[in-house]
Structure formats: C-alpha cells, structure tokens
C-alpha cells in the first residue's frame, strides 16, 4: 500500500492527540508515515507514533524549520512529496495546518481539502459547510490529495507500526525564510486541554453575566477535564479572552461533548460548534435556538444549574 504522510503536531516534545487520530485514519487508507518538523523529538514521541501505526518517521530536526512562519514546513512536505510520491498528505485542520496545506498545494500543483470531518476510500472527504447546514463530499482531482482533517474526527486506536526513523535534511529557500519568528509568547491557559483539540468543551455566553462569573464555567470544565470556550457576546464584552471564542469569526471545535451555558445559539456561534457529537445546552430562555441543536437541554438559570452539575460530576467521578 502507498505511503500517506501525516504531519505531526507536537508541543514541548509531546505528540498531540490529533496526530494519533490522523495516523488511525491514514491506516485505513494506506501506510502511515509520520513527518516530524523541527527539533525536540524524543524516544517517547517516536514510540507513541509507532504505537499508533507509523511505519516510518521522517524527522527534519533543524531549528530553521520552526524559525519562520509556515513556509518551511510546506517546503519540507513538498520535498517529501517529490521524493516519496505518497498517496496523500494529511495535516490537522488547525489555522496553521490549513495554511501549510495551502502552500503545499501551490507548490505541488495539487488539490487541497480543508476541514474534513471524515475521509474514506479514494480520499473522498466529508465536510460540513454553511454553519453545519449542508453536508458535502469532495475530493481532489489533480496532484497528490492534501487533506486538512479536523481534530476529533476519528477516535484514535493503537495498532503498532515499525516506526522506522529516517532523517530528512531540508534546504530552505530564501523565500521560506522571509517571515522570521523573533519571539514566542506563551499565554497561560493552566492545565486545561487546548480548545480545538479537547474532547469536551464547556462554553459560556451572554448569560454568564460578567468576567468573574466565568469561574462557574471554568469550574465545570475542570471537573470534566474540558477546555473552556466563549461566545462572541462574552468575548466582545471582555469577560473572556478572544482566543477562546468559538464561532464563525473565532475557533471551530468538533468535540465529543459540547456544553453551552447561557448561549442563545445564533449562527455566529453555531458555525463554530455544530459538528460536536453531543450537545448539552443550559439557558433561561426556552425559545433559544441552541435548544434546537441540543441532545439534552435544561431550561433554567445557569448560575444554579452549572454549579449543581459540577458538584454532581465531582461526586460521581
């Protein structure tokens, strides 16, 4: 079977969950080969990639690859596409993942599909568009299919691969070194999982009422091991930082469980969360459109309901 390149998402030497999902997906369509861009690969990371089916691990460990915005990673992948003729390239559909996919598509004269929520035979991808209103199947018809797959699209399953390491040296063009990263600023988000990757997301909206009251949302998130999100109304009001905004002009999440508290469910918000597998809504207004999406809804004051839910979750753990 043909090789399928999977670009590894990693942070502080650790492989992110979405990469294990992509390897699982790649296994059903070909032979997964992981591509590690940048320094800092560890024995543990290699073991993890092999555990989830990577037959090969291409390691481009030069510092230069992560020293500039996006372009070096696209050059690395383009070089591997030329050398290995893979059947497809899979990346995570994060903001940066999609940008890498876009540049790679131009470089290799290949089609690109973004925000796939499923991928089947012939690399036909499932997408959910127009705020979740329309389901689309699409495929690439020129070049090597490049597909950006949303986190939480597949459940990761272990199945050992050989994990044979191969070093890759990339000679970056000057063009790839045009946008230099001079400083990385890490903003504290505590021990919570990352919003776009989290299996569970708890979001608060206008009904939360104030910045202080977001502690209620955070409390439930922490008892569930979830990430915290916010609606645009809440971030516009300055109650929660903008980078946690879920919606059309913010992040798109596709978790196993999404809990919306005090969120009415306008299209602006729905476009960012409608592909969640299970949706729970808590809102005072029984007419709120969010209840149309909810698998389970509680009509009530979130300031009563959410703390009680948190307490019950803690009790039953």
């Amino acid at each position: 079977m043909s090789e399928i390149l999977v670009l590894v998402e990693h942070v502080d030497g650790e492989v992110k969950k979405v990469t294990l999902e992509l390897l699982t997906l790649a296994r059903s369509l070909g032979t997964p080969a992981a591509v590690w861009a940048g320094p800092g690969i560890t024995g543990d990371a290699k073991a993890r990639l092999a555990e989830y089916g990577a037959e090969k691990i291409y390691v481009a460990g030069s510092e230069e690859i992560v020293g500039y915005v996006v372009a070096p990673k696209a050059e690395l992948l383009a070089q591997l596409v030329a050398a290995k003729s893979p059947a497809a390239v899979l990346v995570a559909a994060t903001a940066e993942g999609k940008e890498i996919a876009g540049r790679l598509a131009v470089k290799t004269d290949s089609g690109v599909i973004t925000d796939a929520v499923g991928l089947g035979e012939g690399f036909v991808a499932d997408q959910s568009i127009f705020g979740g209103g329309v389901n689309v199947q699409s495929k690439v018809r020129k070049g090597t299919p490049i597909v950006a797959v949303r986190p939480n699209s597949t459940a990761p399953e272990a199945a050992a691969g050989a994990g044979a390491e191969e070093e890759v040296s990339v000679s970056l063009s000057d063009g790839a070194k045009a946008a230099k990263i001079v400083e990385r600023v890490k903003q504290e988000k505590g021990a919570r999982p990352e919003l776009t990757e989290a299996a569970i997301v708890v979001s608060g909206g206008r009904g939360v009422g104030s910045a202080e009251n977001f502690s209620v949302i955070e409390g439930l998130a922490d008892s569930l091991g979830a990430a915290v999100g916010a609606s645009r109304a809440a971030t516009d009001a300055g109650w929660y930082p903008h980078q946690f905004q879920v919606g059309q002009t913010g992040k798109t999440v596709s978790p196993q469980l999404y809990i919306a508290a005090g969120i009415s469910g306008a299209i602006q918000h729905r476009a960012g969360m409608q592909t969640a597998k299970t949706i729970v809504a808590i809102n005072k207004d029984p007419e709120a459109p969010i209840f149309e999406l909810a698998d389970y809804g509680v009509v009530g004051d979130l300031h009563q309901v959410v703390p009680q839910l948190t307490e019950e979750v803690d009790k039953r753990k």
């Binding site: 940066e96 063009g175 476009a271 909810a294 979750v313």
Partner: protein, 259 residues
C-alpha cells in the same frame, strides 16, 4: 505606502445558504450579498496604516458584477480606488485558482502591503492569504492582531495555539488580520457620497494575463462529489430546571458515559 486590501462579497450568514444543484457551486443569486466580516477589519487596518504612514489604499475584489456593492462600501470607509476582477470564466474557481488569479492582478498593479481578512464566512478555508504569499514569494504575516510598519520593516503579532509569535519581515508582504485587531469604522454620509466618484477599474481575465484554463469550475483542483442538507439533529430531551436541573444533566452525561 501602496496598500492593497482584498475584500470579498459573501452571502449574508443570517440567510439560508445553498449550493446550486446544477454545478454544485454556491448559489449567490438566492441570498443577499454582504462584505465578508473579517475584511472590514482588513480595510480598517489599511486605512489606519495609510493615516500613519501616508500612501494609497486600493481595494481589490474578485467576484461577479454585484460585488461592486462590496467595493463601494470599502471605498465609503475611506479607500482611494478599486480594482474589480470580474469575468464569467472565474465562476466556480477554487482556492488554488482564486489565489492564482489574484496573484496575477497583484503583480500587475504592484503593492507594498496586501491586507486580507483571515478567512471568508462562506468557504471558510482560510488558505488564501498563505497561498498568495507562496505565489508572490512575499513574507506570510497571517492571523495577526497587531501590525507595526517602520520604513520598509514590518513586525506583527501572529496568533498561535499557545499565545502569539512576534514576527518580523521586510516589505512587500502579505498580511491577514483577525477580529479584534481594530474596530472597523462606519462609512460616513460624506464617505458614501465620495465613494460614488472614486475610480473603480474593472478587469477581465485577459487584462491581468490570467490563463483561462487555470480558473473556473473546469480547472478546479478539487470537486464536490455530492452534497445534501444536513439532516436535522434528532430532537433532544429538554427539561425545565426545578432545582434539580444540574443533577438531571449529570444523569444524561453519565448515561452517555462522559462521567
């Protein structure tokens, strides 16, 4: 500074958006067109940079004839002139074709800075700014919430999963902006009147040396195989909180094995 700001007319997200059954492209006739929301932030940033550094702001839009409404809005906000790439042959272009066509126009009109919204609310691919950077060999300064220009140097803050990166480059460059970088101004009455007199140059593909076989539905690198309206979600259970709403929700989570 010669700033080009790219704007796109998109269907109003408050209306129901559909694909056409014949060629599986967006049905633009069935809905009201509005300026892509993030593009308003791009226009505002362009105007602020012009106010601080001088120069000229040119609006660039690719789209059918009615996209002029969107162009006029950007002009009413304060942009100086516009280029409208409009040609039947462009209908159905995917991101690769669109980036190619726009890159051809940008090469023709020249730029120090190109500013775009980071994605459109219709296709939401978010790949166009990166593709333009690749095609034009210009630094990619995308997903930014802060831009500083000093002579020919530009520094930005690029949002990342962990916070942000500080990035430096030399002009000419491609910038895409996120919401919250600024607060877009409303066009004034005077601005709206002035916009009617500002020059809008309409280009067909041949005018920008865009090869016909590289654009449009026929050239697309990817295709929609099939589509259908998403089935409505099965009606959920809705309960009224009578002092036990949290506990009941916990029962549901337990039944679904989340706890």
């Amino acid at each position: 500074m010669n700033i080009v700001v790219c704007v796109k007319q998109v269907p109003d997200t408050a209306t129901e958006r559909k694909l056409r059954s014949d060629d599986k492209t967006l049905d633009r006739d069935a809905v009201d067109g509005v300026v892509n929301e993030l593009d308003e932030y791009a226009v505002e940033e362009a105007l602020k940079l012009k106010e601080a550094h001088g120069g000229e702001v040119t609006v660039l839009s690719m789209g059918p004839g009615r996209a002029t409404e969107t162009i006029r809005k950007a002009l009413a906000m304060g942009a100086d002139k516009a280029v409208h790439l409009s040609d039947e042959a462009l209908h159905g272009s995917d991101a690769l074709s669109t980036s190619y066509a726009m890159a051809q126009v940008l090469k023709k009109i020249g730029f120090d800075l190109v500013i775009l919204g980071s994605e459109s609310t219709d296709a939401r691919t978010g790949v166009l700014p990166a593709m333009l950077a690749e095609r034009l060999g210009a630094p990619q300064l995308t997903l930014v919430n802060k831009v500083d220009v000093d002579g020919s140097s530009i520094s930005v803050q690029r949002l990342t999963d962990y916070g942000f990166d500080k990035v430096e480059a030399t002009l000419p460059a491609i910038v895409s902006v996120v919401e919250k970088i600024n607060e877009p101004r409303y066009p004034s009455f005077k601005g709206i009147m002035a916009a009617k007199k500002k020059p809008v140059e309409t280009l067909a593909i041949a005018d920008a040396e865009i090869a016909a076989d590289q654009v449009g539905l026929g050239a697309a690198w990817s295709e929609v195989v099939d589509f259908a309206a998403a089935p409505p979600r099965a009606a959920g259970t809705i309960v009224k909180d009578e002092g036990d709403g949290g506990a009941k929700a916990a029962d549901f989570l337990a039944a679904k094995k989340f706890i």
